[in-house]
């Protein structure tokens, strides 16, 4: 299978975040929630407080949308990837 950059083999090396933790920290401004789905999908429903950054625009817009590189960022998309 052709591996895309967005899902490399080292997938399991990612640090994960659980639903419970996100729920508990929904009001915590230190945690940014980033939705990487396309705009239409984002508009149809997303986690409260999350920022939309479609995969296709990451390279172009990431720095503007998420200026703080060291910030704790929780990334998610449609489902288990």
């Amino acid at each position: 299978m052709a591996q895309a950059e967005s899902k490399p083999d080292s997938h399991h090396a990612y640090r994960v975040i659980s639903r419970e933790e996100i729920l508990a920290r929904l009001q915590d401004p230190a945690l940014w929630l980033v939705n990487v789905m396309p705009k239409e999908t984002f508009e149809a429903g997303h986690l409260p407080r999350s920022i939309n950054l479609p995969v296709a625009e990451i390279e172009k817009c990431a720095r503007q949308v998420l200026p703080d590189m060291a910030r704790e960022i929780a990334v998610y998309c449609a489902g288990p990837t």
Binding site: M1, E43, L47, R71, Y76, G79
Partner: protein
Amino acid sequence: MLEKIGYTNLRYYVGGMADWVESGSPVEKLEPVTAMPRTGQTVQTPISRTSSWSGFLDLLAGWSLERLVGFWLGMILVFGLVYWGAGISMGWGLQAGNVAVKPDLEGLGTAIYFSFVTALSIGYGDVIPVGPLRILAVAEGIAGLLTFGCVISKLVSRRQEELTVEIQRTTFDDRLDRVRTNLHLVFSDFGAVQQLQAEQGSLPAQVLRRLESTVRVFRGELQTVHDLLYRSHVVPDEEALESLLANLVICLQSLVELNGSRPVNDGQSPALDSSLRAISNLAREICGECVPNNYAPALKDSMDQIQELARKFA
């Protein structure tokens, strides 16, 4: 991809939206300014349930034809039994020609006959209710008419619903066919341009115009496929989708080759530039894992291929 840019504190919520919604956690939505329902999407019109009566009507309207007919017949029989039973237990019941209907088997037949005549609001008048039974008979008349009305409307709308589904399906198939044909034309056009390029080393202005138009068509069809994958209410069968995706892949491949041998977007044509950018953006959003539906591995492979080809534009 984010970590490549330099973000250090990334964490992944693996379950994503699917897991979030399943757990019943709060979801935020953005309503478009003009919220137009897309065709085919079921829009839940808020029905103001002012009373249990309208709730009952909604319930009736939601039933299937068979169930409605069954309910209607059952109701008539039950009413018939009640007319008959009233005659036995309380002494007042139905009268046929000034003679009380007897509580025997023949009387039961008469009661059910009366029940049908009432429910259908025929009202011959050969059998008449006496005393409080008259109230019951009027109630049956109302309920019978309402239910029968529902049955009739179901019968009428049934054919209409079939037609709507049929029309939707044909339009959809036609559209897919058109996309496939267009993609094929795009592919042969790309081939022709490539050949010209190989022969002449550069693109004459005329050919460039032609390429612009082809790329524009390609962009449109890519958008169609993209929409199909992301927000279609009708999921095409996998075979049709497979051929579509295969066509998309060869078109993209040939576009990448065309672009690679000598950059097409060297500033000669702003229109071409913007089209290519749009194509790249669209195609990047097509991959096996990022589309909402789960497809067969072969299809996912094609989608991944599309995404990978799109990266070569950058």
